[in-house]
């Protein structure tokens, strides 16, 4: 059995099913992100693991032991909250030491462990300060130290970086990941930021409307999204509505509003593609090349061109609608706005994703 196991977790608030049959197995030392838009049930799931919310149905196991009905103060978990929730009337040292006091760790040992953990988050010199005297990033580190010092079985991070500036957030992502690798604590991160989830986790668990949609390593989830929601939520995608024209062993032909286009057969099809089935023909913006009109699959006019330093973003009006293209900055000035341009891509870069009839 895996180290942390969620088994059919459900949470109902009145008529609203916030979490719908979530099952997840997490290995010891693994870093898993619960990723989804706000209201998808990810925070509720985390709070059920922490014991702050009682599940309507389902079970939670840590290390083979069921803790579904265990009180939160009896679970050996470390939690970092979005608001940090530091104790404002205690110094940094006292904040970190609190969990050890509750575990009756004696003075000398306690001091040693607090100092070690503060060193781990690079706050060794701040032990005597109060939370109000620290920056957001430093408060975040105190919260992390406070959760780690008790050597929790599982570390739960509830949108821990969302209150920080973009620059500090990126630094903290790298640092948090490094600290997690050092201490090896099994970690669950809740976030709505797909870049954060991909940067930090071994696996991302994408949630939507209370359900777990896909659980995969970031690269797999990005390259082989299970459905159109994941495809749209993880990065950007150009999705053309169409229906399956024909399926052979080598390729799928998709009929869109104006033409028939080919795609590779999906690696893992959620449902076998049948002729006539409504699908999206989906291509990532960075997989599309700008080429001359003659050799193109699709042509269009450059509507807008945005320079972002290391890459360009183009908005191109085509017969299938607006297409987003991202290309590397190669040091040459890119095509001008208004220019007519051809678009090309490899059939194996296309994902055929199932679509609701009216989508």
């Amino acid at each position: 059995m895996s180290f942390l196991r969620l088994e059919g977790l459900c949470k109902q608030f009145g008529d609203f099913l916030a979490v719908d049959d979530v099952s997840l197995d997490i290995e010891k030392g693994e870093f898993v992100s619960l990723l989804g838009p706000s209201g998808c049930g990810k925070t509720t799931t985390l709070h059920m693991i922490a014991g702050f919310i009682e599940p309507t149905a389902g079970r939670v196991f840590i290390n083979g032991k069921e803790i579904t009905r265990e009180r939160p103060n009896k679970r050996q978990l470390g939690i970092v909250f979005q608001s940090y929730a530091l104790f404002p009337h205690m110094s940094v040292f006292e904040n970190v030491s609190f969990g050890l006091e509750m575990r009756k760790v004696r003075g000398g040992e306690r001091k040693k462990r607090v100092e070690e953990t503060l060193g781990l988050v690079h706050l060794g010199d701040f032990a005597g300060r109060y939370p109000s005297e620290l920056s957001g990033g430093q408060q975040q580190r105190v919260a992390l130290a406070r959760a780690l010092v008790i050597q929790p079985e599982v570390l739960l991070l509830d949108e821990p970086l969302s209150a920080l500036d973009a620059k500090i957030r990126e630094d903290m992502q790298i640092e948090l990941r490094a600290i997690q690798r050092t201490v090896g604590t099994t970690t669950i991160l809740v976030t709505h930021d797909q870049a954060e989830a991909m940067a930090m986790s071994d696996r991302v668990a994408v949630m939507n409307t209370g359900r777990l949609v896909q659980v995969d390593p970031p690269f797999t989830a990005y390259e082989h999204p299970g459905d159109s929601f994941v495809s749209r939520f993880l990065g950007k995608s150009n999705m053309f509505s169409g229906s399956v024209e024909s399926v052979s062993r080598a390729e799928v032909l998709v009929r869109t509003s104006t033409r028939i286009m080919e795609a590779a057969v999906p690696r893992t099809a959620t449902a076998p593609l049948a002729s006539g089935a409504p699908v999206f023909y989906s291509v990532r913006p960075e997989k599309i090349h700008l080429v001359g009109e003659g050799e193109a699959r699709l042509t269009g006019n450059v509507e807008a061109r945005i320079f972002l330093g290391n890459h360009w973003v183009f908005q191109i009006a085509t017969e299938l609608g607006t297409v987003i293209v991202v290309s590397q900055n190669t040091g040459e000035v890119a095509v001008a706005e208004g220019a007519r341009i051809g678009l090309d891509w490899e059939a194996r870069e296309v994902r055929v994703l199932s679509r609701e009839e009216n989508e």
Binding site: A50, G51, F52, R71, P72, N73, K74, R75, L77, G78, I79, F81, Q82, S83, A85, L86, F87, P88, H89, M90, F98, G99, M102, R103, Y130, S132, R146, A147, I150
Partner: protein, 291 residues
């Protein structure tokens, strides 16, 4: 008109403040000053009442007379008792209210604040009906056979304290409630996740953070009890005087206005000294929370 705004800008705040300031000066500072001056006048019934002679004689009389010592001591003890009871009852009350779910929260808040909507005299007369020898409580107790004689609550310190706690506890609840609003609800969860029991969370994490509310609440309650008039005069009667009723009696009973003024000034000074030193002490003790 080279700099049209400069002059107007510098005086405008004062002009805008003037009506409020005028009201404050006329209705608060002036009477207070006049009372202060009045407290130094001498008084002689035989020579026509208040004389234009100034001395410390009123203060010496109050400070030297054991009759007044008793009144001041009683006022202090009642104030301390009422403040303590309001802290012990009001703080948990506010916390429970804070944790309540939506519709009940507002309903209970209204129940707690309800007494503030009724005149203090009416509320006190209500207590007189309840605790009198022929009152509801004694009738009930005797009827149930729990006591033979009516319990004496009317015209006792206990009766006064009970009624004053009822009158003043909303201030305590409101004050603690306000500081609970500033509490990050997640700190309690954080405490629990670190292995603290709910009681330890309350004592070590919640209570220190709501101390400013408890402090300001107890200051309000103490000051209002020390200067309370209606409740002590109705429930304490003529015999159990407190400072406010004693001053009232000097003014309207013996017509010795200067002595009444001296009593009022001494109450004011005592109140200010106690409140300021208590405030200083608590602020030092909980320095971090007040930041």
């Amino acid at each position: 008109m080279s700099a049209p705004g400069s002059h107007a800008v510098s005086t405008r705040p004062y002009l805008l403040n003037a009506p409020a300031l005028g009201l404050f000066l006329a209705l608060f500072v002036a009477p207070l000053l006049m009372t202060f001056l009045l407290s130094f006048n001498t008084f002689d019934m035989n020579r026509g009442g208040i004389l234009d002679e100034y001395s410390w004689v009123n203060y010496l009389e109050v400070l030297g007379d054991s009759y007044f010592h008793e009144i001041f001591l009683r006022t202090l003890l009642i104030s301390l008792a009422v403040t303590l009871l309001c802290v012990l009852l009001g703080t948990p009350e506010a916390y429970i209210l804070h944790r309540m779910a939506s519709p009940w929260k507002s309903i209970c808040m209204l129940v707690i604040l309800g007494p503030l909507l009724i005149s203090v005299v009416v509320r006190t007369l209500g207590w007189a009906i309840l605790i009198g020898s022929n009152g509801v409580i004694n009738h009930a107790l005797i009827g149930m056979g729990l006591v033979d004689q009516p319990i004496k609550l009317m015209f006792t310190n206990t009766g006064m304290v009970i009624a004053l706690v009822h009158v003043l506890i909303p201030f305590m609840v409101l004050s603690v409630w306000a500081s609970l609003q500033k509490l990050d609800p997640r700190v309690e969860s954080a405490g629990l996740s670190l292995g603290a029991t709910p009681f330890v969370v309350l004592r070590r994490i919640v209570l220190p953070q709501i101390m400013p509310g408890v402090l300001s609440g107890s200051l309000i309650v103490f000051a209002l009890t020390a200067s309370a008039f209606a409740t002590p005069s109705i429930l304490g009667g003529r015999r159990l005087k407190v400072v406010a009723t004693a001053a009232y009696d000097e003014y309207l009973g013996t017509l010795n206005w200067p002595l009444g003024a001296a009593i009022a000034m001494l109450l004011l000074i005592a109140n200010v000294v106690i409140i300021v030193s208590y405030n200083k002490y608590i602020e030092r003790r909980y320095a971090q929370v007040f930041k």
